[in-house]
């Protein structure tokens, strides 16, 4: 980087006008030259979806004050990152940050999260990358206590880089700043969603469903993201996109196929 300011890409899945991404932009403006490429509407739960059977539109926009450049995109969070790196940014970014998500992406939620998938996609393209989430779904969530943790984690990633193939999944408890106990490096808790669909009947008599469910943490370990968050810590889980379950290979080689 030498004398140049770092180039920072920002995306999210709550859409470009969400308060969470506005906070993230304000913190990143202190660290580098910020380019925002984010969905033009909410894209929660989109996981690693990409747009293969339709077209993508991008518009340069200005949502609020500040030096950042901003682009609103019709696609998914992963589409935004692909378009940013391939078409929009002047060069490969030095860092990608995604969020701040309105709501937790701890434990198995990482796999459904558009916010984390945007960060993972940038990591797959060789960019040090971090997803940030606050454990508060509300639109008027208080993002202030998150700021100093986001800044220090992003600074560390800019200075030291990240191990090859690793993306950070950072979750921040919904607490006042003086109640946060610090940062813990964690593993993903073994937790699940117990589905409970809400079955209804529409005005024409046809049955339909709303996806709902209950989050159940089955993991009593004190090294998990769930434990850290319940105990007032910011959780940092290093995440990888090599999904190979190496431990299972030996067993499978005993099958007669």
């Amino acid at each position: 980087m030498a004398n140049e300011r770092p180039l920072i890409l920002i995306s999210n899945d709550d859409g470009i006008t969400a308060p969470g991404i506005r906070t993230l932009i304000s913190v990143m403006n202190e660290l580098g030259d910020v380019w925002v490429v984010a969905p033009d509407k909410g894209q929660s739960g989109m996981g690693h979806a990409i747009t293969v059977n339709s077209t993508l539109h991008v518009d340069e926009v200005k949502i609020d004050d500040g030096p950042q450049k901003e682009f609103s995109c019709s696609g998914t969070p992963v589409d935004c990152v692909k378009l940013a790196i391939s078409e929009l940014l002047p060069r490969k970014p030095d860092l990608c940050v995604s969020g701040i998500n309105h709501g937790s992406n701890s434990a198995i939620n990482v796999i459904y999260s558009g916010t984390m998938s945007a960060a993972i996609e940038a990591g797959m393209e060789g960019v040090p990358s971090i997803g940030f989430s606050l454990l508060d779904f509300s639109l008027d969530a208080n993002f202030e206590p998150s700021k100093k943790y986001i800044k220090s984690i992003a600074e560390s990633a800019l200075e030291q880089g990240l191990p090859q193939g690793v993306i950070l999944n950072v979750n921040i408890p919904k607490l006042e700043e003086d109640k946060i106990n610090g940062v813990k490096i964690c593993r993903q808790a073994k937790a699940t969603w117990e589905e409970e669909f809400d079955r209804r009947v529409d005005p024409r008599g046809r049955t339909y469903f709303w996806l709902t469910g209950k989050f159940v943490n089955l993991d009593k370990g004190e090294d998990t993201d769930e434990w850290a968050l319940e105990n007032g810590y910011v959780s940092v889980v290093p995440v990888q996109y090599d999904l190979t379950a190496y431990f299972a290979m030996q067993h499978l080689n005993s099958w007669d196929l």
Copy 2:
């Protein structure tokens, strides 16, 4: 299972009428009682997306002959599996199979694939689960040579189960049956997509993009799925949904956060 025939759930991402799922149904009818819950339209590239801001519709349908029960669902592949296990099936299935996908889900494609995400979702719910893909995108692909491999892998999973937290990603080369050399247990190759967006101008003068790209395998290992497929083998990669990069935790603990 004792005297009961196994209960087998089938889904995919190419839609309930795709030739690939029709082949998979015909093979699974030989092994158990088949329930199909699949998208009512193509859902390629949907990854692990779920429908959180909209409703889901399900219709019982009969696409072709055979003893299977079939349901067409308005949601994503993951929605289909959640609805199947939570609302539609008489009990938790003994096996979930997804596909046969029209096109490869080897290497990093696993992360974008709705077919694999359907299988992974069932695995997360404790069901032994396998995604099958044929390396041929065409609608009139020849699925015949795949059948005996699909049957033997599914039979093994029914008999022996799968290790906790592991799902199988099976890819089948586009070859005549006598040209297939057998089955190899593999790791996910380190390969990437080099994005090349196709930039166009619509009739009203507005720029839009089509996602395209070139698949590049950077991995020279002979233990990868790409190597197996290039050398005429069916590739089987055990996949996990614990995304924690355990090897990176020690390094991150040295950061001053």
